[in-house]
Symmetry: C2
Subunit: 415 residues, 2 copies
C-alpha cells in the first residue's frame, strides 16, 4: 500500500551522540533498499548544518560490512551538530538543497531540539508546496522525549553505568571501612532518568547494595539532608556510593554546579558537581574519605558495553521511519510502545512531531522514593528490560574495531 | 622435587584492587590443590590488617563455580588494606597467628608497599626460627614494580582506557569543530605507565589520532607549553584529546592538583587535575570548549573490558607462587619475563623481595617522544601484547554477574 512518491532519501543525525544512534542509521539504510520508490540514499554530514552547505554523501556506496558495523559503532557516523535553523533564509536554503537533490524522504535522528527542527522543516516544505516526507527518529541518552515509552540510547548508557557501579561496589567493598564516600557524576541535564537508572545495579533483595543515594534534578538539593543521609548510610555500610545527576539544583532552582558557558541552545554547560560533592563531604565530615568519578562523554559512547535490546530497538526505529515515509506519513516521529503483558515487548508507532518538539519528560514523581534519594520498584520494572542482552563488538589488536563511513561526496548542485 | 614442608596455605590481597587480582587468587587456590604437602587453604581477610585480627576464611570450602568466577571478577575478593606493619609487636602477632594455624606458605598479592611487607614478614619468621615460605605475587595497575617486565592488572586498565578513548574519539569527531579540548584524567601517582599506555589507542598510521597530548608525571608540567600544544593540535584536528596522569608535577616537583589528605603510607590523595586543566583551557583560550572526564576508581575495576592476556598471566603468577613455595623458595616475588622473540610470550621467574620492596619503575625516559607529550614506537611494541584477548564475563539481568566468596570463617585460636 505504498503511497506513490518517488525520489531520494536524506538521513542525518543531530545532537549528542549515543552508543546506538548509528544502529538507527543502519535501519534507515537497509530498509530503504527494500523500496522501489527510493532511488538514492544520501547522508547529510553534521546534521542540518552540513546540509545547508550541501554536504551530502552517498550511503549506497558504503560497503555492506560498514553498514553492518554501524550496528555496534557508537557516536554519529555522519557527524552531528547543535545548530538551530534560525531564519527564513535557512529554511529556504534547506528546502532548496532538498529540491536540488530530489530529496523526497527526510529522516532526522535526534532529541527534542532536533524533532522541533524536523517539525519546522516539514512545515516549510509544505508551505512551499514541495512534497517531502519528514520523519523524526528518536535518540537521546536522556530518555526525556515525550510520547515514547523510552528513547533509543537510554538503555545502553544505563547498562554501562550499572556495570561500572557494580565494579566500583566491589572495589569499595574491598577497601571500605565505614569511612568512604564515592560519588559518581552522570549526565542528565533536566531529567534524572540516567541517575535513576543506575538503581537497577542493586542486586535483588540487597537493599543495602549501591547506589545508596541517588540525587535527581527533580529533587531540590539540600546539603544538610544529603550529609545526614551519607552518615546514616555509613553506619550500616562499609561505604556510601552516591550517584548524582549533573543537573541537580538547589531549592531556588539554581544549578548546584553551573559552568559559565552555554551551548547554542542556551543550555548551561554543566560539570563538576561530583567534585563539588566530594569537597562538601571532605569539608563537612572529618575523617571521611571522599572520591569522585565522572565518566562524562564516555558514558554516551560506551558501545563496548551497550544493550542489545536498545541497539535492536534503535535499528527497528530506523526501519520503521522508512516504512512510515513510504506509506505516506510525514510530520511524525517514530515512537516506541511497550506491550502490556508481563513479558516485555516493544513495537513502534507514529506521533506528531509537534507534540514531541521541545517537550521534556521528567522522571515521574511517583517513582521517586519517600526518602527522595531512591526510586521504587515500579521504575525497576520499567528499566530492567531496556538493559537486556549484549551487543557483540569485534576486537582488533585488543581494542574495539569500530567502523567509519567512506563518505563519498555527492556532487554539489547549488552555488 | 618437593622440598618437604607440610602445612597450611595463607593467601591475602593488599593495596588497590585491580580487574585481575582475583585471577591470581584463583591461581593460588587451584594450584594448592595439586600438592599433598598443602593441607588447608586459608584466605586472610583485608590483608595483613585482618590477619592480625585472626580473620581467616576457609577457601577450600568455596565452590568450584566461585573459584572459576574469580577469574573474571574484579577487585579483591578477600578484601584489602593499606595497613603497614609498624611495630615489633605487629610482626610478633602476625607470626603468632601463622603458628596457631600452622601456616607454612604465605602468599601476599600486592604492589611495592605490599612486597616490602612480605619481605619483612619473611625476615621476622626467619628470626623466630619459624619455617614459613613467603612469596609475593605482583599486582598493580600502575605497572611500577621493578624486576618484572610488567605487572598483572596493568594490561586491563590500559585496555579499558583505550576502548574508552576510541569511543570518546568517535564522539568528539562527530561533534568537534576545531574548538573542543577533551581531557581524560587517569590514575598513576608516581609513574606514567597508565597515561602512556593509552597511546596505543591511536589507529596504525594515523598520527593525528587521539590521544593527541599525553601528560606524564615524568615530565614537568608547563602550562604555556601545554596551551601552545593544544592550539597547534586544534589547527590540524577537529578536537584535541588530552590524557593526563593524576600525578603530574610542575618544574619544582609540586603536584599540579594536590588534595589535602594523605593515605596511611604518606601518599597524597590526588584528584582534580582533569578539571584543573579544563578550567585552564577555558580561561586561557577564549572560544575553545573544554570537557573533562575521570574514570577514577572505575578504571581499575572495569573487568567487563579486561585483557585476557593480563588475566591469564595473573592466574599463572598465582600458580607459580605456589609451585615456588612448594619447591622450597621463600623471600621472593614471582616476576613476569617476556620472551625475546618477535612473537610475544611470557614466563615467570623469581626475584628477591628485598630488591622489589618500595622500588618504583618509572616510565623510561627514552620511550618519551621528543615533544614530551607522546611516546614512541618502542613503547607501543611493549604494550600491545598486554591488551590482547577479551575475558568472557557472564551477564545476568543485563549486568555482569560477578561472584562473591562465601567466606566461611576459620575458628579463632588466639585471644
Amino acid at each position: 500500500m505504498e503511497n506513490q512518491l518517488t525520489g531520494n532519501v536524506l538521513v542525518a543525525q543531530s545532537g549528542g551522540p549515543t552508543s546506538v544512534i548509528n544502529a538507527s542509521l543502519a535501519g534507515v539504510i537497509t530498509e530503504s533498499l527494500n523500496h522501489d520508490c527510493i532511488e538514492e540514499i544520501y547522508g547529510g554530514l553534521n546534521g542540518i548544518e552540513g546540509i545547508l552547505k550541501e554536504q551530502l554523501i552517498d550511503l549506497a556506496e558504503e560497503s555492506q560490512q560498514t553498514v553492518r558495523g554501524l550496528r555496534y559503532t557508537p557516536s554519529s557516523a555522519l557527524g552531528t551538530c547543535r545548530y538551530k535553523l534560525k531564519s527564513e533564509q535557512d529554511f529556504t536554503r534547506f528546502i532548496d538543497v532538498c529540491k536540488a537533490h530530489n530529496i523526497r524522504f527526510f529522516f532526522y535522528i535526534g532529541g527534542n531540539d532536533s524533532q522541533d527542527t524536523a517539525n519546522k522543516i516539514a512545515q516549510h516544505a509544505a508551505a512551499q508546496d514541495y512534497e517531502m516526507r519528514v520523519i523524526g527518529i528518536p535518540k537521546t541518552i536522556d530518555n526525556d522525549l515525550t510520547m515514547t515509552d523510552h528513547c533509543p540510547g537510554y538503555g545502553s548508557v544505563v547498562k554501562y553505568l550499572c556495570a561500572t557501579i557494580r565494579e566500583l561496589a566491589l572495589d569499595h567493598e574491598a577497601m571500605g571501612n565505614h569511612d568512604l564516600v564515592s560519588i559518581v557524576e552522570v549526565m542528565g541535564r533536566d531529567a534524572g532518568w540516567i541517575a535513576a537508572g543506575t538503581s537497577i545495579a542493586k542486586r535483588r533483595n540487597q537493599v543495602d547494595d549501591p547506589p545508596h543515594i541517588i540525587l535527581l534534578p527533580e529533587v531540590a538539593f539540600n546539603p544538610e539532608y544529603f550529609l545526614a543521609q551519607v552518615q546514616e548510610c555509613l553506619k550500616k555500610n562499609k561505604y556510601c556510593l552516591v550517584v548524582v545527576s549533573e543537573g541537580i539544583c538547589d531549592a531556588n532552582g539554581n544549578l548546584v554546579a553551573a559552568g559559565e558557558a552555554q551551548d547554542s541552545f542556551g543550555h548551561s554547560q554543566l560539570g563538576g558537581v561530583g567534585e563539588y560533592l566530594q569537597r562538601l563531604v571532605q569539608k563537612s565530615l572529618p575523617g571521611i574519605k571522599a572520591r569522585s568519578c565522572k565518566p562524562g562523554h564516555a558514558e554516551r559512547a560506551a558501545a563496548h558495553c551497550s544493550s542489545l535490546a536498545d541497539s535492536n530497538e534503535a535499528y527497528m526505529a530506523g526501519q520503521a521511519a522508512v516504512k512510515a515515509a513510504v506509506e505516506g506519513n510525514s510530520g511524525v516521529m517514530v515512537a516506541l510502545v511497550r506491550g502490556d503483558t508481563d513479558k516485555y515487548s516493544c513495537e513502534t508507532t507514529l506521533v506528531d512531531l509537534a507534540s514531541v518538539a521541545n517537550g521534556v519528560k521528567h522522571f515521574p514523581e511517583n517513582w521517586i522514593g519517600e526518602d527522595k534519594i531512591s526510586v521504587n520498584y515500579q521504575f525497576n520494572k520499567y528499566i530492567l528490560p531496556l538493559l537486556q542482552g549484549e551487543v557483540a563488538v569485534p576486537y582488533e589488536n585488543g581494542m574495539p574495531a569500530y567502523v567509519r563511513l567512506d563518505k563519498n561526496e555527492v556532487p554539489k548542485k547549488l552555488s
